[in-house]
Point group: D2
Chain length 365, copies 4
C-alpha cells in the first residue's frame, strides 16, 4: 500500500520508468465537470522534459490516453483512468544498476524492500517520471477548483544559493500566476531567473546537480475546510507532497522561519474587510488548527539536488559485496526542482479538491 492517496478523492498511481506505461486512476471525482483538453495538455507540457537545457534530454510525448470516467468531455463521476505510454526508453543505460545502487537514489532501499524483484530500470516506480500522472491528476483537479474560484500557482523560490522574492502572502494576482505557468523557469524576478539558470548550467557543466525550493500559493479558498489533528490541511498536503521524488522538507506559512519569531510578530491580527474576517498579515499561511482561514494558502517544498550526476561516485557491488566506483549514464535534469514546479501545484490541487469533496459532498459540482 503505497501509491494510492486520498480520502474522498482517491489517486492511484501506477507504472515504472521503463515499463510499458504509467498512469493514474482518479476515483471520486465529482460528476458533470467539463474538462478542457487543451488546458490539460498545457499542464502536462509544463512538466514534460526537453523544454530547454535545464532539463533532461529524454523526449516523451507524455500524451495521456483517457480510458474511462469521461463521457462527452465531462466527468462521469466514476473512476477516470489515464495511461501514458513509455516510448523513449534507453534501458541499456541502466544495466548495471541492479547490483550497483546509485548514491542518493532508491535503488538500494527498493532492492531490499522488494527482495531484489523491483524493476530497477530507470528507477522503476521511484522515477521522477511518475510525476507525470500526478501532474495529469492535478490538471483535472485544478480545472474543477478554478470554477470555484481557486487559483493555484508556484515559482522557483530557490536554486542552490539563489533566492527569488517570496510570494506576497496576502495574495498574488492570477495574471502573475499565469505568467509563471508560462515560463520554463518560473521566478517572480527576471534577474533571479537568469541567476538560477546560470547556477543550473554551472552545475551541469561540472557534471553536478543542484537543489531547489518551490513555493506554492492557492488563493480563493473558502474558510473552514480541513480537519483537526491528523486531518489538517498541512497533514494532507504534506502526505502527498512528500510523494514527489526528491522532496526533503515541507513548510507552511512562515514555516521554519516562524521558529525564530516572537508570538507578537507571528500572530496575525483578525480584522474585518467588508464584513469578511481576514487577517492583517499572513504568517500562518492560510491554515490555523489544520483548517483554512480564508487567507492565501502558502507552502514551500524543498528538493534535494538530482542524485544522478555524471561524476564518478562511490557505491557498492551488491553481488560481490565490495565497494566499487560508479559512473552514471542516462539523461537527467541537473535540477529536479525546475520541472517540479507544476508537480507541486498538481499535488496541491489534488489535496485541495479532496478537502472540498469532504466539505461539500456530492453537491460539489
Amino acid at each position: 500500500m503505497s501509491s494510492i492517496w486520498g480520502n474522498h478523492l482517491k489517486l492511484s498511481v501506477f507504472g515504472e520508468s521503463h515499463g510499458k506505461g504509467i498512469g493514474v486512476v482518479l476515483d471520486g471525482l465529482p460528476a458533470g465537470q467539463l474538462i478542457d483538453h487543451d488546458e490539460l495538455l498545457a499542464q502536462m507540457a509544463r512538466r514534460a522534459p526537453g523544454r530547454d537545457s535545464t532539463t533532461t534530454a529524454r523526449k516523451e510525448s507524455d500524451f495521456p490516453e483517457i480510458l474511462s470516467g469521461l463521457y462527452q468531455n465531462t466527468t462521469t463521476g466514476t473512476p477516470l483512468c489515464a495511461v501514458i505510454r513509455n516510448n523513449d526508453t534507453h534501458s541499456g543505460d541502466y544495466a548495471d544498476l541492479n547490483s550497483h545502487p546509485r548514491p542518493g537514489h532508491a535503488d538500494y532501499t527498493a532492492s531490499v524492500r522488494y527482495g531484489g524483484y523491483n524493476d530497477y530500470r530507470g528507477g522503476g516506480h521511484f522515477s521522477g517520471r511518475l510525476t507525470a500522472p500526478i501532474t495529469f491528476a492535478g490538471a483535472i483537479c485544478r480545472q474543477i477548483l478554478a470554477r470555484r474560484g481557486v487559483s493555484i500557482g508556484a515559482h522557483l523560490f530557490a536554486v542552490g544559493a539563489v533566492r527569488d522574492a517570496p510570494f506576497d502572502p496576502m495574495g498574488v494576482p492570477d495574471a502573475v500566476l499565469d505568467a509563471l505557468a508560462a515560463s520554463p523557469l518560473p521566478t517572480l524576478s527576471p534577474e533571479t531567473g537568469r541567476a538560477m539558470r546560470q547556477e543550473i548550467e554551472t552545475a551541469r557543466l561540472e557534471s553536478d546537480s543542484v537543489g531547489g525550493i518551490v513555493e506554492c500559493i492557492a488563493t480563493g479558498l473558502p474558510t473552514g475546510i480541513g480537519d483537526p489533528m491528523f486531518g489538517g490541511v498541512e497533514n494532507r498536503m504534506a502526505s502527498i507532497l512528500f510523494g514527489i521524488p526528491a522532496v526533503k522538507g515541507v513548510e507552511f506559512g512562515d514555516g521554519f522561519g516562524a521558529a525564530a519569531l516572537r508570538g507578537s510578530v507571528n500572530n496575525d491580527a483578525f480584522i474585518y474587510e467588508k464584513d469578511t474576517v481576514r487577517t492583517s498579515t499572513n504568517h500562518h499561511g492560510g491554515i490555523l488548527g489544520g483548517i483554512t482561514s480564508g487567507m492565501p494558502l502558502l507552502c514551500r517544498v524543498a528538493f534535494k539536488p538530482t542524485p544522478s550526476i555524471f561524476r564518478e561516485q562511490q557505491t557498492v557491488d551488491l553481488q560481490t559485496h565490495t565497494e566499487a566506483p560508479l559512473t552514471i549514464h542516462g539523461r537527467h535534469d541537473p535540477c529536479v526542482a525546475v520541472r517540479a514546479v507544476p508537480v507541486v501545484e498538481a499535488a496541491s490541487a489534488t489535496a485541495l479538491l479532496d478537502l472540498f469533496l469532504e466539505a461539500y459532498g456530492y453537491e460539489f459540482r
Copy 2:
C-alpha cells in the same frame, strides 16, 4: 474524519481541553507486549506541564487510566484505550473566546468549520493538551520498538535565534538520548540550554512567546521498510507530526538545507561495514525513496511561537462584526517547542511502529 491516524496501527485521539477527559484508542497493537508502567508514566511526565517556569502553570496529573487492551500488564492485541481526566480546568478564563477569536489560534477557523458548535474553552480539541494522549501512545510504541533495537530521542534544536548543535547524523549513543530525556530543556550543549532558557524567560517577561525547532533521531531501524510515493516514511511521519499543534514545517535529513547543496555533496556514498551496506555520510536522513536505508532517521520539526501571549492584541468580535482588542488570560507555555520534544518522539514512535507492523505482520511480537 480527523483525529484517527495510521494504517496498521490506528490511533484514535479524543477529548477537549475543558471537557471531562481526553484519551486515545490504539487499535492494532501487537499482542504479548509487556508494558512497563513506570516508564510509561515517565514519558507522560516529560510532557506534563509545570516542571519549571518555561512551561504553563496548569497542573494536571495526566494519569492515564487504561480501560482495555492490557491484561496482566501485557497487550492483548485488541484495542487499548487510555483516558486522562481533566481536573484543573479554569473555564472561566475562556468565556469571551467564542466571539473573540485569539490571533494565531484555531478559535476562528474551528468556529467556521463547526458552525460555532465546537467546544471553544481552552481551544477545545485543538488544545496543546491533546498532545498528552499522543505522548501516551508513543510511550507504548517506543517500549515495543526498543525491544527490536530501535532508540528514539530528540532535543531542542532551536529556540528563537538560539541554536543547539545538530545531532550527529551517523548516530547518537543511547546514553546521550537518555540524558536528553531526563532534562526539562534538552539540548546537546549545556550553554545552549542556558541561552534558550534565557530566551524563553525574556519572552515571558515581555508578555511574549517564542518559536523553536525540535530535532528527532531514530537509530536501529531495519533497512527496507516503508513504501514508495505516498506511503513513504516521510509522508507518514509528516502526516502525524503536522497533527501536533503549532507545527509549521517538517524536514528529513538535510531538509531545506539540501536545496542549497550540490548533488556531489548531498549524495551519500554506499560503503560496506562488515558486510552491511551503509552510507559514508547521512545527508538523506535514513530514507531513500520513502524507504529506510538502515542509517539513522533524522527529522526536524518547526514550531511557531505560542499564540497565547499576554499583550493586548487585535481581533474581531464575531457577534458585533467589529474589530476589538483582546487580552488573553489563562496559563500558557511561552515556548511550546519545549514540551513538544517528547511529543515529537512519541509521534515518531507511533509512525515507526505502524511501519514495522506493515513490514512484519502479526509475527511482529
Copy 3:
C-alpha cells in the same frame, strides 16, 4: 486494524468483557446536533441484559459516560467518546477457558491470532457485550438521521423454525416501528412473539440455545446516496453488520430468495408518484447498483444460536493436547438474536449516517 469502522464517520470500539470498561469513539459526527439523553438511554436499555428470561441474568447498568464531543448537549463535531464501566463481572466463571476453548466461540481462533495473550475472560473483545458501544453509536446516529426524516426499525423475523410476517417492503409506519422498539421481543404478529418465546424457553430448559433472523427497515432515505462497486450501501452495511457477534449471513431486499425468482418477477417497475420516481414493488430492497432508490431499505441478518450452552460439550485441552469435555457456566442468552434487534438497527444507523456525510459534507447539519 479491526475495531474501527467507517469512511466519513468513524467508529472506534474498544473494551473487553471483563476489563475495566468498554466504549466507543465517534469521529466525524456533524456539529450542532442536539442529543436527547433520555432517548439515548432508552436505546441502550433495549439492548441491556436482564429484561426477561429470554436474556442473560448479567446485570449491567450500561450507563455511558460521555467524555468528549458534546457541549451543552450538542455535538461539537470533534470526537465523541463514551465509556461504559464493567461492574458485574464474574471472571471466575471463565478460569478454564484459556486452555479449553468453547465450541462455536472465538476462544480458540483468538488464542492463535493473539499468541495466547488475548483477554479470554468472558470472550474478551469478542464478547456480545461489545454490542453496547455499537448501540450507543447508533443511538446518536439515529437521532441525527431522524431529523432528516429517516426512520429505522427492526423485528425478530425468525427464531428457530418460527417465522414472523415480513416487513411490508413498500413501507412501515413509524408507529409500528415505535411499538416494536418498545417490546422486549419485537414481532409484527403477537402470536409469533409468543411462539418464539416458547421456542427460546424450550431451548433454555433443555440447556440449549437457538438461532434467529433480524429484519431491519429504513424509510425516508433520499435517492442517490451510496457508491458503485465496493462503496455500495450493501457493502458498507454488510461490513459493519458482520461485526456483530454471531452474524452468519446478510441479505438485502429479496436476498437469497431472489435467486429462485425470474427476472420478470424480481424486477421492480418504475412509476411516478406525484412527480417522484418510485417502484411499484420493492424486491430490490431500496438499493440498485449500490445506490439508494428512495424506496425503503430492507435487510435481514442471520444469527447463529448462542454458542454458550449448558450441556457438556466436546473440546480440547490446549495445554495437554488432548480432547476434553467442557461444561460452560456463566450467564448467557439462549437466543442472541433477541437482544441483537436494536444492535442491527444501531449498526444500520451508523452506516447510513456515514453515507449521508459522504453525500452532503459538512453541510449536513
Copy 4:
C-alpha cells in the same frame, strides 16, 4: 470513493462498459511472485462471455494488457495495472436508456447519484463487464495463494429452484475444484447441471431470466488470520462480494440455515487430528470471531435474476415525467450467476490475499 477495495492489498477498478477500456490497479502485491500467463488467461476465459447459450452473445477477447508491476513475468511489488480494451460495443442498443431507466438496473439510481452525467451506455461502470478486472485481480492473487497451499473453488449451488449438492464443509479435493473450473456450468452433480441448463434455457426462451446461488470454498488456510469486529474475514469478504453486480446476499458456513438450528447442533466440537486442532463438523464455515479456524472457508453468494429481460417492462420517461413501456435490446446473460462463479472465486482470492499480507507483512513472498 467507491471502486477501490482493500487494506494491505488495494484493488482499484476502473472503466465503463462502452468506453475505451476497463481495468484494474493492484497496489501492495508481494514482490517476487512468478505469474503464469496461461493460467491467468484461463481464469479470464472462464468469465468471458460467449462460451455457450447460457451466456451473452457479446464477444470480447478480454485480453488484459499488463502495463506495470510485472518484470520478467515476476511481480515487482509496485502497482500492477492491467487494461482490457472494449471492442465489441453496440452503444446504439442503449440510446434510450438515459431517459428510460431499466427496471432492476442501476440506470435510475446512478442518474440521480451523478446528476445525469454518468456514462449510461451498457450500464457504464455498473456493468457486469466490470467483473473482468476483478477476475484478473483474483487470477493473480490465487496463483500467489496456491503456492501457500490455498485452493479456491466454486460451483453453481442453485439456479432458480434447482439445487446442486452442497460442498462437503470438511473439505473438497483439488481435483474436484479443478473439474468444476473446467466446466462452463459447474455443478457437483451432472444431473443438476443439466437441470440448471434447462432452467436457464427455458427462461431465455420465455424472454426472461433466472437467479442463482454460487457456493465457494477455500481450503488450506492457516489458523488465526483475520481480525475481530469490523476486520473479520466475513466483513472483508462481504465488502468485496457485494461489489459484484446483482449480489443480494452473502452467508458463511450454515449462514441463514444456522438461524434455524439449536446450539447443540450448530456448535462444532474441537478435536485433535495429529496434534492439530480441528473441528469435527464445520457449521461455522471456517471462521469464528472473524478469524480463520483452519477449517475450510465456506460462503454462498445469492445473485438476483439478470435484470435485462426481453419482455416489455414498465418504466418512466425521466424527460417527460410520464410512465412508459420499455423493451430492452442488447446482449445479456439469462442467468448472471453462471459467469459469476469465477468472479466469486476471484473476489474471495483477493480478500484472502489481503488477509495474508496483513498477517505476514512483506515476508509474505
